[in-house]
């Protein structure tokens, strides 16, 4: 059984000495170096081929051709309420203020009577899937979207649920989905990080563990970007030199490469040293490319209008620019902490949060589509769980006792996916009559992961990494592909 991503020894991918001796022994390495030195005067291109062989981020083929080439995961952190967005429950209106005819399921806090959605639902598109008034723009794309109404997770707490959604394991340090994908596929643009996680204002709950590489090499960890900032220096570390002009820095690098070439000339070819030579050229170009990628002022006015204004619009437009440039995995968080966690004042808060992101998300879908990118870009939307259909009761110290919000709900919630080989225009699975629990075709987070990896061309049981005596995978020992979600 061939396991292209199974590495018995660390050195097989990350120590390049042997690669060089076996693969580059015929002088390919030297050709790369010659090219490099020949082009440094103007910093021009032609580097990419020489670099790929040795970089841990070089593009790799998956197990089978996947429809999705890249991923954007829009994380509505805090837990958006499914019965107020994508999972209409008329029974709640009927029972509003009365107890459910079932025991309330156990969630983090006590909840009481049925709590009808304050928002109106309406059918959209040819598929006629109902979406609430919170997401009218997104709903305009419903025929491209697979709404998964039967998501479920393990516990009603943020920390474990965030880790489960991101890393497939609720407590122990495991690599995040973005790390796995970047490890499996590499990235298309060596001048940008392969996996970027954007969150305005600061970290979400559980912080950088959400995009951790854990036991995978650090290079697969998400690069965190605080999209509250607008200046490039604040977005990416060490991207600009404060003391040198570009031309002066080029002179420095020219000298460096001359010294490196003299050094190499006295020694047998060594892929590690060549890789390092090349990494300086990549870094040099990264300074321009990254600056350009984050500069949304380069977008035509019509596109900027499409996305609208505000932080969500800005970060989603940046995300599209990154995806377009070959970044493999982009995660876009709504904001620091847990913005969607509306234990109180659900109506007011959900309305505000959805207003922030509805138009930009819809714009992203439209924009990807018009560029022909939606077909191979997997767009994922959702939180770490949903919210109860029942009203949260006062808990001193935990909520403000207004009795107008909902508690966390991992028993059933909604996520949606679009593009990248997803069969759109369907509502998959269902929660019970009230939206408490996934009862029809339940999709566990592990199943979602298996399906996402499948869309990218991976058998989730075979994308593994040997660590501490075990071949670890994103889905651990779980996960079933949900075939109906695949076009």
């Amino acid at each position: 059984m061939s396991m292209p991503h199974h590495r018995a020894r660390l050195s097989d991918r990350f120590l390049t000495r042997r690669d060089f001796l076996t693969r580059c022994g015929m002088g390919l390495g030297m050709i790369g170096l010659a090219n490099l030195l020949g082009t440094t005067a103007n910093g021009a291109s032609s580097l990419a081929t020489g670099i790929s062989a040795n970089s841990p981020l070089a593009p790799h083929a998956p197990h089978f051709p996947g429809k999705a080439k890249r991923v954007i995961h829009i994380f509505a952190n805090g837990g958006p309420s499914h019965v107020d967005t994508f999972d209409p429950k008329p029974s709640l209106a009927r029972l509003h203020g009365k107890p459910l005819p079932m025991d309330n399921l156990k969630t983090e806090r006590r909840t009481g009577a049925a709590f009808k959605s304050p928002f109106q639902f309406k059918k959209y598109g040819q598929s006629g899937i109902e979406v609430s008034e919170l997401f009218p723009h997104v709903a305009g794309h419903i025929d491209d979207i697979a709404v998964i109404r039967s998501m479920n997770a393990d516990v009603p707490n943020h920390e474990p649920s965030l880790l489960l959604m991101n890393c497939g394991e609720a407590r122990l340090p495991r690599p995040s989905m973005g790390s796995w994908v970047t490890y499996g596929l590499g990235t298309e643009n060596q001048n940008l990080p392969g996996f970027i996680s954007m969150c305005p204002g600061g970290y979400p709950i559980q912080e950088s563990q959400n995009w951790q590489s854990a036991f995978l090499p650090g290079i697969y960890q998400g690069t965190y970007i605080n999209t509250q900032h607008e200046q490039i220096e604040k977005l990416i570390e060490h991207i600009k030199n404060k003391n040198l002009t570009v031309a002066e820095q080029r002179q420095q690098l020219d000298l460096l490469q001359q010294l490196n070439e003299r050094h190499a000339r006295k020694r047998a070819q060594d892929a590690q040293m060549e890789s390092r030579v090349q990494s300086f050229e990549l870094a040099y170009r990264m300074q321009m490319d990254a600056t350009d990628a984050f500069d949304i002022s380069k977008e035509p006015q019509a596109i900027r209008d499409l996305y609208g204004t505000g932080t969500q619009a800005r970060q989603l437009l940046i995300a599209r620019r990154l995806l377009e440039r070959g970044v493999r995995f982009v995660q876009v968080w709504h904001g620091e902490g847990q913005p969607w966690d509306n234990h109180d004042d659900l109506e007011e808060n959900h309305r505000r949060l959805a207003k922030d992101c509805d138009q930009p998300i819809a714009a992203l879908l439209a924009d990807l589509k018009q560029r022909g990118m939606l077909k191979d870009t997997l767009v994922i939307w959702g939180g770490e769980f949903g919210r109860t259909p029942t009203v949260e009761l006062p808990t001193p110290g935990a909520n403000s006792g207004k009795i107008n919000g909902r508690d966390h709900n991992h028993h059933g919630f909604t996520m949606w996916m679009a593009g990248g080989g997803v069969r759109g225009g369907q509502a998959y699975g269902a929660t019970d009559e009230f939206g408490f629990k996934a009862v029809e075709k339940p999709v566990h987070v592990h199943d979602l992961h298996a399906t996402i990896l499948h869309l990218l061309g991976f058998d989730h049981t075979k994308l593994t990494f040997r660590h501490a005596g075990r071949d670890f995978r994103l889905t651990d020992v779980h996960g079933n592909l949900v075939k109906e979600l695949v076009a």
Partner: protein, 937 residues
């Protein structure tokens, strides 16, 4: 297959099956001949199906085995159930098992109750039967035979044998026993070893190797000028004696120990920093510098608290090995799992943590082994206060620390006094509110209703209870002050009361205390609420009067009066001030009543004291220790790793494979565990350690997976050498430095990196050590080199961890960096720093542009480039070419050649005369970025 048994008419049919089943391999069944691939297939595909859907009735662990059928071991599978065999090897179509899961027969449906397996799961079982139902020997606890078999088969489970030194032809090449093994291998393939490395390369190589720092130009010149035959051996001795050796090699151990200075994610507000993590780090550095015998080193890290240490308690810090892991939101089982992993994988290369949910899938380690160790660690706890590591001493720094601490303690005391006074003042001010509350409150039970009541009225619950007790007591007898209140409480107050009733009500409020009586009369209250207000107002007045009287007495220098002059007013005063009055509390009682507020309010200050004890250089160091619990207890096996489904308890004991049979008897058993690991007869411990040491000298271990010596790790090609060195280590009192000597003094180590064409052809990946492997500086060596070259490096040892990320940049060595395991700064990650969450078996070696960006643009590098160009020895150089020569000698430890000087001069001329970043500083940066600095030949 329960239904098979019930459906009697099938019975004769089964006998027929039995007849057919002769094609099943005889002897002990299919498993004996199962290949590793088949085992893997079983473990990955088949076992999950059986385990999830069949084992609840058909395994040794089933509560009640149904139909006498077990599907969890090969012999039982072959035997079948009460009614005979269930499968025909290679013939799924006719196997009862497959028929049952296919649901093709309405009387034979498994799993029962309409829980049919998915098509994919059925296909897996069919494929399995088709290949002869291979499965591992035993799926329960490893049987004695399984352990014996593992010991017989797997090289690393056998004792290390010290073989005779291989003989070689080129005996002159032999400088250490290591060379016999290496040269024999080379000679067998007719490969000549590489030349000895150039002496400059050699001093550079070995200095970095042992210290993680570059040699100075003086050291290089001295070595080159030393023509004695033992010059190199002397060099090695000098380096082994340097205190920086411990900083370098201690750090390698910290990688194994998944060392960090923080606990990882914890809920908001909880302190994440370990208070004294650095005492463990300093212990490790010291242990290497003192060449502490490795067995002792291990015993101390697992059970220092159980040793008799004498006066010097510094050894207690060793326990940080266990305690400094991630805290997993304080989930005890995860913390224990982390400790089991670091101990077993870190010291023995055994992946015991794999047996948390089920028996290890490859190695003969059972869940029982795991939970035997679980019991050891769950019988250990962190002491309430970290133990001091030594006498307090009387240094100036310590005195400073005490002064700072006292200052904050006084702030805390002041804060408490202020809070208590405010509380008492409020109690005296709100008499009426409490009176009303005593009246209204009918439910005095602890509970939500009571709490909500007092919460809404902002009353202190304890004070309210005292008021009730006090009132009850007073009203047991006629009481001139509270009788009117008691009467008022009985009145049915109404808003439209005629004058006569009002007068009658007012009469009820008459009392012998004229002051009170008058006050009530003149207020003419219309509700109980208004009566309460009269009490509040009057008592406030009396309190104010009392304060004024006392203040005036003080002003006039007279003794303060003991009572108010008017007896009526005095008895009102006593409501507030009599001993034991509800508003007159002792300080301790008052503090008790507002303890939550005091605790919360003083938290930042207490945090300051705590932080002071971690960060002040004079703070007494303490150990992140572990002690045995008063009542050690065995842990049950958690079925499928779930603490909610405990199985049978397992005695605390060592791993069976390695001789652990008898239960531990000394407390938690940590000391016995430690001794079993650090035993010369443990086949793994010395081997694993020797391999790690080799790994850091040569860039790769003799065994590739330094943290896994289990069954799937093949016997290394240099097995004999590994065993030789393991025995050597034990014989040399587990001396790490002796091990270094054996390796460093070898010709093998001293080879050049340049291989002959013949060696490249015959030994392309240098598995035979036909040359030295070129190595790249890791993060710490790289950063420390920058500081050393700029002349800024702070060489003192130990101390509290420092932030090395922000400006002004710390000049301390990287081993002293604060390691935040939750949000490890990007630079650490970029440069392949160890993962602070798991025991590391080596570092990754990636080459990515982010590393180059750091060198090109980070303020840290700019600062070091400036420092380097501005060093006195560079400044003093007469002219540009001399400066260039000096820089070459410092950075690359060699003379610059004329062409290089020409290149550099040309560069200097090309750069603008910028004061802020001079041409020479820019040139210095280029040298710091060069491959020649970064790679060690």
């Amino acid at each position: 297959l329960r239904k098979v048994v019930r459906a009697k008419f099938i019975f004769p049919f089964l006998i027929l099956f039995g007849a057919i089943s002769i094609c099943v391999p005889k002897s002990s069944g299919a498993a004996a001949v199962a290949s590793p691939d088949q085992i893997e297939f079983f473990e990955k595909q088949v076992r999950p199906v059986l385990s999830d859907h069949c084992y609840s009735c058909h395994s040794a662990k089933a509560e009640k085995v149904k139909g006498g059928l077990l599907l969890d071991n090969p012999a039982a599978v072959l035997k079948g159930g009460d009614s005979g065999p269930v499968l025909i090897s290679g013939d799924p179509a006719h196997s009862l098992l497959i028929k049952a899961v296919r649901y093709s027969d309405p009387d034979l449906q498994m799993p029962p109750k309409n829980k049919k397996l998915s098509d994919a799961q059925i296909a897996v079982l069919e494929a399995w039967v088709k290949m002869g139902a291979p499965m591992p020997a035993a799926a329960g606890a490893p049987s004695v035979t399984r352990l014996d078999e593992a010991r017989a088969k797997h090289w690393a489970f056998q004792p290390a044998r010290k073989s005779a030194l291989p003989t070689v032809r080129n005996r002159r090449w032999i400088k250490s026993p290591v060379d016999n093994f290496i040269l024999a291998g080379l000679e067998a393939k007719q490969i000549k070893p590489a030349m000895r490395a150039d002496r400059r390369d050699l001093i550079r190589r070995v200095t970095y190797d042992l210290l993680g720092l570059p040699p100075t130009p003086r050291e290089v010149e001295a070595f080159l000028a030393d023509y004695r035959s033992d010059a190199y051996a002397r060099l090695v001795e000098r380096l082994l004696a340097s205190p920086h050796y411990g900083e370098r090699w201690g750090r390698y151990w910290l990688d194994v120990a998944r060392y960090a200075d923080s606990k990882g994610y914890l809920a908001g507000g909880e302190e994440r920093r370990f208070p004294f993590s650095h005492t463990y780090r300093d212990y490790v550095v010291r242990a290497f510098n003192e060449d502490k015998p490795y067995d002792q080193f291990l015993i101390e890290q697992i059970a220092a608290d159980k040793l008799s240490l004498g006066e010097d308690k510094r050894t207690l810090a060793a326990l940080g090995f266990l305690t400094l892991g991630r805290r997993f939101l304080n989930n005890q089982n995860d913390i224990i799992d982390d400790r089991i992993d670091v101990v077993t994988r870190g010291t023995m290369g055994l992946t015991v943590a794999c047996a948390r949910c089920h028996d290890h899938k490859f190695d003969p380690i059972s869940s029982k082994d795991y939970y035997a160790l679980h019991g050891v660690f769950s019988s250990s706890e962190e002491p309430a206060e970290e133990p001091l590591l030594g006498a307090l001493g009387n240094s100036k720094e310590y005195q400073d620390y005490l002064k700072e601490k006292e200052k904050i303690e006084k702030e805390i005391a002041d804060f408490k006094t202020k809070e208590v006074n405010e509380f008492l003042e409020k109690l005296r001010d709100r008499t009426g509110d409490y009176l009303l509350a005593v009246h209204e409150q009918t439910n005095w039970e602890e509970g939500a209703a009571f709490e909500t009541y007092v919460g809404q009225r902002k009353l202190n619950p304890a004070a309210l209870r005292r008021w009730k007790a006090d009132l009850d007591k007073r009203l047991a007898n006629p009481d001139s002050i509270f009788q009117p209140w008691a009467n008022a409480a009985k009145i049915v107050w109404s808003s439209d009361t005629n004058a006569a009733i009002a007068a009658k009500q007012l009469r009820e409020l008459t009392t012998t205390n004229v002051v009170l009586s008058d006050a009530l009369k003149s207020a003419a209250p219309k509700s109980l609420n208004e009566v309460a207000k009269v009490y509040t107002k009057l008592l406030n007045e009396v309190d104010a009067e009392w304060k004024t009287v006392r203040a005036e007495a003080v002003k006039k220098g007279k003794p303060a009066p003991a009572a108010l002059a008017s007896p009526d007013r005095e008895s009102l005063r006593l409501v507030l001030y009599a001993e034991g009055a509800p508003a007159n509390l002792t300080r301790a009682d008052a503090e008790g009543m507002i303890s939550k507020r005091l605790r919360e309010g003083s938290a930042p200050l207490r945090g300051k004291i705590e932080a002071l004890s971690w960060t002040h250089p004079g703070a007494p160091p303490r150990a992140m220790a572990l002690v045995d619990r008063a009542a050690p207890a065995n842990s049950p096996v958690f079925l499928r790793g779930n603490p909610g489904t405990p199985g049978d308890p397992v005695p605390r004991r060592f791993i069976e494979l390695l001789g652990g049979g008898s239960p531990f008897t000394n407390g938690s058993g940590r000391l016995e565990l430690a001794r079993a690991i650090a035993s010369p007869t443990n086949p793994l411990t010395a081997r694993v350690y020797v391999n790690r040491i080799w790994l850091h000298h040569f860039g790769e271990g003799l065994v590739g997976s330094a943290g896994d010596f289990g069954i799937r790790t093949e016997q290394p090609s240099q097995h004999a050498l590994l065993d030789y060195l393991a025995s050597y280590l034990v014989e040399h009192r587990w001396s790490t430095k002796d091990l270094h000597r054996a390796i460093l003094l070898s010709s093998t180590y001293q080879q050049s990196c340049e291989a002959s064409a013949q060696a490249v052809r015959l030994d392309p990946d240098n598995r035979l050590y036909s040359r030295m492997t070129r190595q790249r500086l890791d993060y710490e060596a790289f950063r420390d080199t920058m500081l050393a070259l700029s002349g800024k490096l702070d060489e003192h040892l130990g101390g509290v961890p420092v932030d090395i990320q922000s400006e002004p940049f710390s000049p301390r060595r990287s081993v002293y960096a604060f390691i935040d395991r939750q949000n490890l700064p990007g630079v650490f990650r970029t440069f392949d720093f160890a993962n602070p969450d798991v025991s590391n078996q080596g570092r990754f070696h990636t080459t990515v542009p982010q590393q180059a960006l750091f060198l090109m643009n980070s303020p840290f590098i700019t600062e070091q480039a400036r420092g380097l160009a501005d060093r006195a020895d560079v400044k003093q150089a007469a002219n540009a070419s001399e400066k260039i020569r000096t820089l070459y000698a410092l950075v690359l430890q060699r003379p610059a050649d004329p062409a290089e000087i020409a290149l550099a001069e040309k560069f200097l001329k090309s750069q603008p005369a910028d004061e802020k970043y001079t041409p020479l500083q820019r040139f210095a940066q280029v040298l710091l970025e060069s491959n020649e600095l970064m790679f060690l030949d």
